[in-house]
Amino acid sequence: MASNPQNDTLEALVNQKYRHGFVTDIESDTVPPGLDEDVIRLISLKKQEPDFLLQWRLKAFQHWRTMREPHWAQLRVAPIDYQAISYFSAPKARKDAPKSLDEVDPKLLETYAKLGVPLHERARLAGIAVDAVFDSVSVATTFKERLAAAGVIFCSFSDAVRNHPALIEQYLGTVVPHTDNFFAALNSAVFTDGSFVYVPKGVRCPMELSTYFRINAANTGQFERTLIIADEGSYVSYLEGCTAPMRDENQLHAAVVELITLADAQIKYSTVQNWYPGDEHGVGGIYNFVTKRGECRGANSRISWTQVETGSAITWKYPSCVLSGDNSVGEFYSVALTNNYQQADTGTKMIHIGRNTRSTIVSKGISAGHGQNSYRGLVKILPSATNARNFTQCDSLLMGDRCGAHTFPYMEVRCPSASVEHEATTSKIGDDQLFYCLSRGISEEDAVNMIVNGFCKSVFKELPMEFAVEAQNLLAVSLENAVG
C-alpha cells in the first residue's frame, strides 16, 4: 500500500461542504452568559412554571455542581466553559404567541424553506405534524386538532407544563433522573423547551410525529427536553431530524429524551441528525451530548430507537432501553458516519429486568477522513430476567487509512438462562468492491454511495419510508464530491 490513488479519490468524494450553513437574523431575547440559581429562577419565571418544576430544576443544579464532566468516552473534547454559555434565548415575543402560521415570523418560515422543511404544505401532504423547535421555544405547532380528536397530546414541553402539569410531574425524570449524568443534570436544571407526547390507552397515533430541531442564536446552548408516554396498548412513531447553521464556535447541545411505554404499548423513535460537523480542518461544529433512554415499563411493550447520525463535531449518545416489563422488547438500529475530524462515541444500553425480555442491537459505523467512530454498548441482564435474549451486531466500514473504528461491547449477564450473541466486523471500503463496480461502468461516486448504502441497509429499512429516503440522500450528500 505504498501509494493508493483510490484513497485520494475517496477523500475527494467525502469532502462535502455543509449545505445548511446560514444564520437567520431574528432578534433574540437572550439572557447574558453564565449559570447560577438566579438564572434558573429566571428561566422558570419567564416560562411561568409551577413551583414543583422550579424545585426540580434547583435540585438538579445543586447536584450538577457536585459532578464532573465524563471523560471515559473515546473522544477528544476541548474544554467547555459553562459560564460562557447563555442559557435562554427566545425569538422576541409579539404580544401573544402565534396562533397560526400567518403569525409566525416570515424569516423563520424562510429558514425552514431553505432547509427543505416546508412547515405549511409539504408537512400536511406527508401527513406529518411538525412541532418546530426554533432555538429554545416552540413557535408553531400544526395538526393539533387531528391529534386532539384521537386524544393524542403533541405539544411543546412548555405547553405541556402549562396544560398538563400532572402528567409532567408524574413522568418527568422517571427514566433519566436529574442525577443521571453530568449533561442530563445540566439539562434538567436549565432546559427551556422541547416536545411532549402522550398517547392514551389503546390509541394508535394517526400520523408520524416529527420535530425539527434548529440551533440558531450564537453561543446559545440547546437544552431540549422530550418526554413521550405511550399508555397501555398504544402506538406512536416519532421522527426527529435536524440541521444547524454554519458557525465557528463550538456549540454545546445537551438534550434529554425520555420514553415510557406501558403494557402492550410501542414507541418507535427515529432520528436523522445532521448538525454542523465543523469544517474540513475540524474547526467549529456542534457538541452533541445527549441522553436518550426509554423504559418498557409495562409487559409486552416495545421501544425501538433508529438513528442516522451524520452531523456534529462530537457525538456522545447512547439511546437505551430499560426492559422492566415482562416480554418487553428493546431495539437499537444505528448508522453513524464520521468524516473530516468528526468524532462519535455512540451505542446503546439494554438493561434486561423483566422475564423473557428481548433486545436487538444493529450498529453500522462509517469512518472517513480523520473521523473517529466508536461503538460503545452495554447489555446488562439482571437475575430477574429469566430467558432474556440479546443479539448484537456491530459493523464498521473504513474509508481511507487515517480514520478509526473502535468497538467497546460490555456485557453483564447475571442470569443463567439468558442468551447473548455478539457479532462484529470491520472492513475497509474494499478496493475490490470499488473496482468491481467501476469495471461495470459505474462512476466512483455512485459506487461509493452504493456500497455505503448497502452497508447501512439493515438499519435504513427500520426507518419510516420518507425518512429512509432522506437518510440515503443525507449519506450521499455527506459523501458526495464538493462539486455540485
Binding site: G441, I442, E444
Partner: protein
C-alpha cells in the same frame, strides 16, 4: 482491435509482465494459458484498469485508443468487460440494481437512452434463462451468499447484459463442477460474435473443450513463450508446461 505492445508491468518491487505482445481481432477467441504465477491474471487485471500495478513500458490500444489512459469505468464504457476469478460480495447492494446502474452508465456513454426498471427487468429475465438462474437472484445482494458456481454464472450474466466488445475471462472455469462449467460455457458461446473478441485466461485445458479458442498462448514468467491453435492446448494437457519454457 486490441493491440498489446511490449507491455511490462510491476507490482511493488516485483516485475510481473516482461514484455507482452498480442494482437486480437474482432470475432476471435484467445486462450491464455500458463502455470501459476506466470502473470495471466495480472494481464487481464491491467487491461481492466485495476489499481496497484505500474506499467513501466509498452502500450495497449483498443480500436486505436490508448486504453491505459482510461479509468476503469471509462474502459467499461468503451466496451471492456472483466469476468472476475473471485467476484466480490457487496452486502446490501442489490444484484440487479448494480447491473442496471452499470448498463445505463454504458448506454449513456454510447448515446443510447437509459432503460427504465421495466425494460431492464425484461432484458435481464431473458438473459437469466440463458444462464439458468432462478428468480430469487433478482432480490439478492451482489454475490452475497452465492456458491462458487453461482458467482461465475453471475459474471457471464453480466457480460450478456453489458454486451462488451472485449470480454476478459479470468479463470472462469476455476471452482466449477462439470454441470456448472457447461452452463457457463454455453453462455459464453452464445455471446461469441463477429464484433466481439474474447480473451480467456485458464490454467486447465478442460475449459477449452467447451469454449473452442482460435488462438492459444502460453505465458511463462511474464512472457508469451508459445502461440498456436487449439492443438497447442491439447499438447499442453499431455506434456505439461515445462517443455514450452525449454523450447
Amino acid at each position: 482491435m486490441l493491440t498489446i505492445t511490449d507491455l511490462q508491468v510491476r507490482a511493488g518491487d516485483k516485475q510481473i509482465l516482461n514484455g507482452i505482445n498480442l494482437t486480437v481481432q474482432p470475432g476471435e477467441v484467445h486462450a491464455i494459458m500458463g502455470p501459476n504465477g506466470s502473470g495471466k491474471s495480472t494481464l487481464v487485471q491491467v487491461l481492466a484498469g485495476r489499481e496497484g500495478y505500474q506499467v513501466t513500458q509498452g502500450s495497449v490500444s483498443l480500436h486505436g485508443r490508448d486504453l491505459l489512459e482510461l479509468a476503469p469505468e471509462e474502459r467499461a464504457r468503451a466496451g471492456v468487460f472483466l469476468a472476475f476469478q473471485y467476484p466480490v460480495e457487496i452486502p446490501g447492494v442489490n444484484n440487479v440494481y448494480l447491473l442496471k446502474a452499470g448498463l445505463n452508465a454504458i448506454r449513456k456513454h454510447r448515446g443510447q437512452p437509459e432503460l427504465d426498471a421495466f425494460e431492464f427487468l425484461s432484458l435481464i429475465k431473458d438473459k437469466m434463462k440463458l444462464m439458468q438462474m432462478d428468480e430469487s437472484f433478482l432480490s439478492r445482494g451482489v454475490n452475497e451468499g452465492f456458491s462458487g458456481g453461482e458467482k461465475k454464472r453471475n459474471e457471464i450474466l453480466q457480460m450478456a447484459v453489458l454486451e462488451p466488445q472485449l470480454a476478459l475471462l479470468d479463470e472462469t472455469d476455476s471452482g466449477l463442477d462439470i454441470d456448472a462449467l457447461r452452463v457457463v460455457a454455453k453462455g459464453v458461446n452464445s455471446l461469441r460474435s463477429p464484433q466481439r473478441a474474447i480473451v480467456m485466461v485458464t490454467h486447465y485445458q478442460r475449459l477449452l473443450d467447451y469454449i473452442e479458442p482460435d488462438h492459444v498462448h502460453v505465458l511463462s514468467a511474464g512472457r508469451i513463450v508459445k502461440s498456436g491453435d487449439k492443438a497447442l492446448a491439447r499438447e499442453l494437457e499431455r506434456r505439461g508446461y515445462d517443455w514450452t519454457v525449454a523450447a
